[in-house]
């Protein structure tokens, strides 16, 4: 499955579609500031969606490792965590660019920004933890347990706390939507670009992760 080509083609075509149609599609004028920068919805927001999916796969393999203790599960867990974290940092930096023009400064201490940054630091600690141990069995086991902790820290940092206070992002206290997007801001046209973008970026992340896994397997031989 991971060596098959068809889903890599799907990823490529979906992202080419996104980066062409994402510029052409008619977008609603939501406020005087946002204008065409709402098209960031096709590039910035999918980073977070893909990150959450990749980190979920990572914690899945972490739990699987604890049951099987197969090194391949540990490689998988590490690779998906790495790609997921990369997407998270891309999300933070693209968000900062957008925020500079929408909210007036790259970092406003918005609860969602702070939460995402904390979540990323927690995942960075995962790699520090891995690097600090030389015994392979011990490293894999401790890393798997920490991975489960790190994944469940995403719940408060990304999904709960940003909802409880006022936020510049949609979905804070007293505003519509979830902490990432206000569903009502997107019309059917935008959805037809947004969802393919999410699938495309996720598949690209899976592809890169499988390459890392295959490399680790080769190295272990």
């Amino acid at each position: 499955m991971i060596r098959k080509a068809w889903w890599k083609w799907v990823a490529f075509l979906l992202l080419i579609y996104t980066s062409i149609y994402g510029f052409i599609v008619k977008v609603p004028k939501l406020d005087d500031r946002l204008e065409h920068s709402i098209r960031n919805m096709f590039f910035h927001v999918p980073m977070w969606f893909a990150m959450m999916i990749l980190l979920f796969v990572s914690v899945w393999y972490a739990a699987k490792y604890l049951r099987t203790t197969s090194p391949i599960d540990d490689f998988s867990s590490k690779a998906f965590a790495a790609t997921g974290t990369l997407y998270g940092f891309l999300g933070l930096s693209t968000g900062a660019i957008w925020a500079n023009y929408q909210w007036g400064s790259p970092w406003s201490g918005d609860p969602k920004q702070n939460g995402a940054a904390i979540a990323m630091l927690i995942y960075l600690a995962y790699f520090v933890l891995r690097g600090s141990m030389t015994d392979e069995d011990k490293r894999s086991r401790v890393a798997s347990v920490y991975n489960i902790f790190a994944f469940f820290m995403l719940f408060p940092t990304l999904w709960i706390l940003p909802r409880l206070t006022e936020s510049l992002h949609p979905g804070g206290q007293g505003s519509e939507g979830n902490p990432g997007i206000n569903g009502k801001d997107m019309d059917a046209n935008m959805r037809s670009v947004f969802y393919p973008a999410v699938i495309g970026w996720t598949l690209l992340g899976v592809w890169v992760s499988t390459l890392k896994i295959r490399y680790e397997i080769l190295k272990a031989k």
Binding site: F12, I16, S19, I20, F23, L211, L218
Partner: protein, 72 residues
């Protein structure tokens, strides 16, 4: 199959390059020039498409190298 895949990718990439070059030496008649219409947004589109294509070519080449090592 793999050779076919690679050549198709290269053709797509070349296509994007041609579009961008075409944009630079196109006639000054703005109304008939797609790349110069709509606030030149299509120039940005060409840049993004080139980046995405290049990224995929890179990942694909790594994939091929790993496959080679696996088959050894």
């Amino acid at each position: 199959m793999k050779k076919y895949f690679k050549s198709l990718l290269l053709i797509l990439f070349a296509h994007v390059c041609v579009i961008s070059v075409h944009a630079q030496d196109a006639a000054a008649n703005a109304s008939t020039d797609v790349m110069r219409s709509n606030g030149k947004i299509y120039v940005v589109m060409a840049v993004v498409v080139t980046i995405v294509t290049g990224l995929f070519l890179y990942v694909y080449s790594i994939d091929k190298k790993i496959s080679k090592l696996e088959n050894k």
